[in-house]
């Protein structure tokens, strides 16, 4: 059933201002990654990189190599080839996705290197990257038409096929014929797991789960992914998990009202967060009356989205809707 058709020709896909102007992909597939995606890990010899590469391999992801400057030519502890540069790695392995665990001071540069080397999707897991670095990296990747996910994000998983990131694999339920499957978009890592777990325990499979990350400047945003899920025939409903800070959720609400016909359930974290304080994530702050949870909830409700009152009722709200 066309499962081998990938998101090819990535340079046709433009991300920016919430528009995804690529050709509509009318095949029944998950979004962003699937079993044919081949992945390299930048920072594969680091502690986090090595651990999570092992986890991804265990899940069945097609990990094809790693990058670690100065260690090219060797083999990683997983038996994967290690290269000095991303360009070498892509040339040798044909990888199309890069998963980055490089330390924050060098991570934005690593993302640009991955894009320059020809990866079509860059998953930036690293936390604590300077905002100006991200502004520059995002512009660089946008100009090349390369999709960026993150930074400060758990990554993306298409259950049963491909896990690129740090989420625990076992909590996910792969989509099967005849069952409903859910697409999940979230600014928070652990809160995504929470939503996934609630779906799985209620017998709802997931088509793809995407963590977009908690930084103020990031790659793929709610609107981009809402459009992908709307166009993805395998996705029956969408869960979006937002938090305080910024106006991305408000933009998503406007987008949902105009373009999304699939049922959407939302949860916004930070109802009790005090204004002016940065709540862990660099982007999670209420300032000048902007970015409050209540304004986001109001905008989403107005757009016809079912908003869960508590993080524990995301799954139930969805079951009721289906």
């Amino acid at each position: 059933m066309g499962l081998d058709i990938r998101l090819h020709q990535p340079h046709n896909l433009r991300v920016g201002e919430g528009t995804f102007q690529g050709d509509r992909l009318d095949v029944d597939m998950s979004i962003l990654v699937d079993r044919d995606s081949s992945i390299i890990c930048q920072g594969i010899t680091g502690k986090a990189g090595a651990f999570h590469t092992a986890q991804c391999l265990e899940y069945g992801t097609r990990m094809v190599g790693g990058v670690s400057p100065g260690k090219g030519g060797s083999q990683s502890e997983h038996g994967l080839p290690v290269f000095n540069t991303c360009h070498d790695a892509v040339a040798a392995t044909g990888a199309d996705v890069s998963m980055i665990f490089v330390p924050a001071p060098f991570a934005a540069d690593a993302a640009m290197e991955a894009g320059d080397a020809g990866c079509s999707l860059v998953v930036l897991v690293t936390e604590g990257i300077p905002t100006l670095d991200m502004a520059r990296a995002r512009k660089f990747l946008d100009d090349k038409g390369i999709l960026l996910l993150g930074p400060n994000c758990p990554g993306v998983i298409t259950p049963g096929q491909c896990k690129v990131g740090i989420m625990p694999g076992y909590i996910h339920k792969p989509a099967e014929k005849g069952t409903k499957s859910i697409g999940i978009i979230s600014r928070s890592g652990t809160l995504t797991y929470e939503a996934v777990w609630q779906c799985t325990t209620r017998g709802l499979a997931q088509s793809t789960c995407v963590g977009i990350g908690g930084d103020p400047i990031k790659g793929l945003n709610f609107t981009d992914l809402l459009q992908m899920f709307q166009d993805d025939e395998e996705t029956d409903a969408i869960i979006m998990i937002g938090e305080i800070g910024g106006t991305d959720e408000e933009a998503a609400a406007t987008y949902i009202e105009r373009h999304v016909t699939k049922p959407v359930v939302a949860f916004i974290a930070g109802m009790t967060a005090p204004p002016g304080k940065r709540m862990g994530h660099a982007g999670a702050i209420i300032s000048g009356g902007e970015g409050t949870a209540s304004s986001k909830v109001a905008a989403l409700k107005e757009a016809g989205v079912s908003v869960a009152e508590s993080p524990a009722t995301i799954g139930d709200t969805l079951t009721k809707l289906l």
């Binding site: 512009k139 652990t190 305080i244 702050i285 300032s287």
Partner: protein, 464 residues
């Protein structure tokens, strides 16, 4: 009727008004009070007729108007003192009035001797409300400077933002007062939506920019930097044009200020760099009278200058201790301590406690790469808050591993001893090993929970 500091300073010029005129009423057009407008008309008339010299001191208005009580930027970040912001600005060639920073009364009078004329003495603290608390003083002579310095250095400053105990003032800024002809606003701030810094200028300087943005958004002109190329020449020219200088030298000077501010922003990874007001003096000089800067916490590692400027005395001690262990901790008012991994889940856990009738005592995200020692420190920090009557541990393991938290829980129970009930909910990476460890340890105060709702209900019931 309440006059602002600026108005009080010029009080002798205000005639006695009939009681039916409400001087504190705000004029909708510009947000100034009736008293303020009448005063200004009179001052200007007097100045024009040559009866008085128009001398208005130094950025006082913003402190009295509570400008600093409003965070103007999207991120809570490292701050620097006003005098430090001036240093950074003068480094890139932005002209600022002559000033010096002092720690003692003797130094203050020495500084006055060097500057002379009218000066303003300002306490260097982060908290707002300095003007109202009497910690910004306009002084005419050495005696007044000595008096002001003595007062500020020997008393703790108490304002709305400091709490009842107040804060000690360690440094004072003594700066020359200048004759202001007009005031402007210039700022660079990170725009999350456009994903690049934006330069904003306005001819309505000296007032709260949020007010201008709300009432007269057209008065603010914005140009977005190219993330790679920075401020382009034509953009700078357009910004200067928006400030409407007729004199070419003044326009050039303003352009230099704008470019300088952009340079500082990019060089030091600012979250906000703001000059308010930028003034034109009666002599036609362009000067940055007051500046405010905050910095991207994620980038402080690469700026030695900023690390040296960091003032730990101005930060919450517990928050700093948490930061040292890579924890992000924010104390709140409730009695249920939270230990969670992930900022989103931590916020959601707080929301959930509230939903079940409890009140969270803190936000605490242990982060992904949490170690056993870090998690023990987290328990220590939570327990050092005496309000805490119960703890909710909510871990959904991803990068963070459940067994690490379980080991920390067991160690904390042995080392610190839990005096309050601890409800534990674990899921995710290595959860089986974690459950086994906890079962073997059999900690008395520990209450396992199956899911989120169960955990919230249990902890709320325990503290109720």
């Amino acid at each position: 009727m309440r006059l602002t500091f600026r108005q009080q300073a010029l009080r002798p010029l205000v005639p006695i008004f009939p009681p039916w005129i409400d001087l504190s009423r705000q004029i909708p057009h510009n947000g100034r009070t009736v008293a303020g407008c009448v005063l200004w008309m009179r001052v200007l008339r007097a100045a024009l007729s040559g009866r008085i010299g128009l001398t208005v001191r130094f950025g006082v208005r913003r402190y009295t108007d509570g400008f600093e009580t409003q965070p103007t930027n999207g991120r809570y970040t490292m701050k620097v003192h006003e005098y430090q912001a001036r240093t950074l600005l003068s480094e890139v060639g932005v002209p600022v009035p002559q000033s010096s920073v002092v720690d003692t009364v003797a130094q203050a009078t020495d500084a006055y001797a060097a500057i002379g004329g009218k000066v303003v003495v300002k306490a260097q603290v982060f908290a707002g409300g300095r003007g109202k608390a009497g910690f910004v003083k306009l002084c005419d002579n050495a005696d007044e400077v000595r008096e002001a310095a003595e007062f500020m250095l020997s008393n703790r400053m108490v304002s709305v933002q400091t709490g009842a105990e107040g804060i000690a003032v360690k440094k004072l800024l003594i700066a020359a007062a200048v004759d202001i002809e007009s005031e402007y606003y210039v700022a660079v701030v990170m725009d999350r939506t456009k994903r690049t810094p934006v330069v904003m200028v306005s001819r309505e300087g000296g007032v709260e920019i949020e007010v201008v943005a709300k009432e007269n958004p057209d008065a603010i002109v914005k140009r977005w930097l190219h993330p790679h190329m920075g401020l382009l020449g034509f953009q700078c020219a357009q910004l200067v044009a928006a400030l409407n200088f007729t004199d070419k030298a003044q326009a050039r000077a303003a352009g230099k200020v704008i470019r300088g501010l952009v340079d500082v922003f990019l060089k030091y990874d600012c979250a906000l760099a703001e000059i308010n007001p930028l003034v034109r003096t009666t002599d036609g000089e362009i000067l940055a009278i007051d500046a405010k800067m905050t910095f991207d916490d994620n980038a402080v590692f690469r700026h030695k200058t900023l690390q040296d400027m960091f003032d730990p005395a101005e930060e919450n001690a517990l928050e700093l201790r948490a930061k040292d262990h890579n924890l992000s901790y924010i104390p709140l008012d409730g009695n249920i301590g939270c230990l969670v991994n992930g900022a989103g889940l931590a916020m959601a856990t707080m929301d959930l406690i509230k939903l079940h009738g409890g009140d969270p005592a803190n936000f605490l995200d242990v982060g992904g790469s949490v170690t056993k020692e870090g998690a023990i420190e987290a328990f220590r920090i939570i327990l050092s808050d005496k309000k805490v009557k119960g703890i909710l541990v909510n871990i959904f393991g991803g990068i963070a591993k459940c067994d690490t938290i379980a080991e920390a829980l067991i160690a904390a129970a042995q080392d610190l001893g839990f005096t309050v009930p601890v409800v534990v909910r674990l899921e995710g990476t290595n959860v089986d090993r974690a459950r086994k460890l906890l079962a073997e340890a059999a900690i008395e105060q520990l209450i396992p929970a199956d899911d989120l709702t169960d955990a919230a209900k249990k902890v709320c019931a325990k503290v109720a």
